[in-house]
């Protein structure tokens, strides 16, 4: 009996706590914020410097996708012929069946061109069976939205900047050691 009352008190206490500060949300009206690393549906990124997609249609991601939900083809890049872009090949056609995608992120990890990202898009229910087969323009749209919202910087650029900073720090450390060593030699 006493124990049941104790349990009741615990429940009551958390009821009052919940009234003060609710834990739950009214979901569709109040969307849950996602973490920066959240993996939503994959999307393709847009190179704003050259005005073309990053993707070259190299098929690495397609061969490594565990569910084989993507397909793509490549073509010669017209901008490269004009000398505006360094990409010789560019994506011609790209499709992801988001209904099949398991959001594993393997494609993003393996892409060598920073061309694909896990966007924060996750509310994409449709009524048709194939309603989530997304083609190149739509994928680029999702990607652009993601780039805009998160101020996306290509990971290879980030890694390069980090490495340069580290090298510079190392060089500075070496330099500051050298005069000291020289001074010691002079003694």
């Amino acid at each position: 009996m006493l124990n049941s009352v104790k349990g009741m008190m615990l429940t009551l206490a958390s009821t009052f706590q919940g009234l003060k500060k609710p834990v739950t949300r009214e979901y569709p009206k109040q969307p849950t914020p996602v973490q920066p690393r959240f993996m939503g549906f994959p999307a393709l990124t847009w190179d704003n410097d050259v005005d073309e997609p990053f993707c070259t249609g190299c098929m690495v991601c397609i061969r490594n996708c565990p569910t084989q939900c993507m397909s793509a083809s490549m073509m010669d890049n017209p901008l490269n012929e004009e000398g505006k872009s360094h990409r010789r090949k560019i994506v011609d056609y790209f499709e992801i069946n988001l209904n099949r995608c398991i959001l594993c992120g393997i494609c993003v990890e393996l892409c060598n061109f920073d061309a694909i990202v896990m966007s924060h898009e996750h509310e994409m229910s449709t009524y048709e069976r194939n309603g989530d087969r997304v083609d190149l323009p739509a994928l680029l749209d999702i990607g652009k939205k993601y780039q805009r919202e998160t101020a996306w910087i290509p990971p290879t650029v980030l890694a390069k900047a980090k490495k340069e900073a580290e090298d510079a720090a190392k060089a500075a450390a070496a330099e500051s050691e050298e005069p000291a060593a020289a001074a010691q030699e002079g003694d």
Partner: protein, 367 residues
């Protein structure tokens, strides 16, 4: 009128909420007593083991996520360890610690889910809400680290995918005190509640010898008083560096199995605290792990402690980029094998509690 006693056949599941998934039991009952049981599994069979033979080594991690979908990190760990052992790959220290922290958090999340559902099975609604609140906190942390709440695909052969986020220390410092409260709360509201005790004590008892014969592992075995935990019996990863106890029960009944799980959450918290103190700086994935993974021909058998018991992977490689055969020893399946012995001669109303106290995950039973 002359009523003749007849045996009745009662079909429980596959859509019964208390079977924790899609599991069907055919119960032969005599009045309120269960005379015989026939379990039917396989409703969630996805052929994971066969699928593994067609996928490359780095893709299989996604399949292990989906096997025991309540303890994803623990499952990823045992698979990665199997491939690493076959390749003779050394994992960076930091990665080992990250793995241990995430696995123990996942153990708490899984046990919290268990506490919630056993409450439901015994007829208490509130613990579920409390337990899910705690589990939700852990999952938010998982989302910040791996990008997904459940299907993480975060562990890699030779380490983990990427380093912990920059704000990890703040996140975990915020989480741990709350988590401690949640665990204590779930303990206080249920464990020594009178009604709960009467529902679970001396229900579904099994002796230690019988439990071993059935292949019980994990909390179900420890509930019978056998002190066996793979983390202590054959320490893997960096588990030998932590100081923690193995809680054991006395009678092997439902309540003991419950008590062991609750105590394990406290032990997991201890491990996490120690790991956070000891975690070194450095790389999180060995450079070998980034290349195409092609282990030499051979076979390994690796085991680890899941929240549900001992999970083991038997991996046979023929030197290509896909395994030749991959066999999983699922803890839930072995624990479930005793269902006939546990249910016979018990009451119908207890069947739900007994099944709940085994804490099965059908994704793993059927694979």
């Amino acid at each position: 009128m002359n009523a003749e006693p007849v045996e009745m056949l009662l079909n429980m599941g596959p859509q019964h909420p208390s079977t924790h998934g899609v599991f069907r039991m055919v119960l032969w009952v005599d009045g309120e007593k269960i005379v015989d049981v026939e379990p039917h599994i396989g409703y969630l069979h996805r052929g994971s083991e066969k699928l593994c033979e067609g996928e490359q080594y780095h893709q299989i991690i996604t399949l292990f996520d989906r096997m025991d979908y309540v303890a994803n990190f623990n499952n990823e760990l045992v698979y990665c360890q199997a491939v690493e052992k076959l390749m003779g790959l050394a994992v960076p220290e930091r990665a080992e610690y990250v793995r241990v922290i995430l696995c123990e958090l996942n153990r708490i999340a899984s046990h919290l889910l268990y506490v919630g559902t056993i409450g439901l099975d015994a007829g208490a609604m509130t613990p579920t809400m409390f337990a899910f609140r705690g589990r939700e906190r852990i999952q938010s942390l998982f989302e910040a680290i791996s990008g997904a709440r459940m299907m993480h695909n975060y562990f890699r052969i030779g380490g983990v995918k990427e380093d912990l986020p920059d704000n990890f220390e703040r996140l975990i410092a915020d989480l741990l005190p709350l988590l401690k409260e949640d665990v204590e709360e779930s303990d206080r509201i249920l464990t020594f509640n009178e009604i709960f005790l009467t529902r679970l004590k001396d229900v579904g008892s099994i002796s230690a010898e019988e439990a071993i014969d059935f292949g019980f592992t994990g909390p179900c075995l420890r509930g019978c008083g056998v002190e066996y935990d793979v983390r202590k019996a054959q320490p893997y990863s960096v588990y030998d560096r932590f100081d923690f106890d193995i809680p054991v029960g006395l009678d092997g009944d439902c309540w003991d199995r419950h008590w062991v799980r609750v105590q394990e959450m406290y032990e997991s918290l201890k491990i996490i605290e120690q790991a956070l103190e000891q975690i070194p700086e450095g790389e999180v994935v060995s450079s070998l792990g980034r290349r195409l993974i092609r282990p030499p021909a051979g076979e390994v058998y690796v085991r680890a402690e899941n929240p549900r018991g001992e999970i083991a992977v038997h991996l046979v490689s023929n030197g290509t980029d896909r395994p030749y055969r991959l066999k999983v020893r699922p803890p839930s399946f072995c624990n479930l094998s005793a269902i006939k012995r546990l249910l016979c001669e018990s009451w119908i109303a207890d069947s739900v509690v007994i099944l709940g106290s085994l804490d099965i995950v059908l994704g793993e039973v059927d694979r």
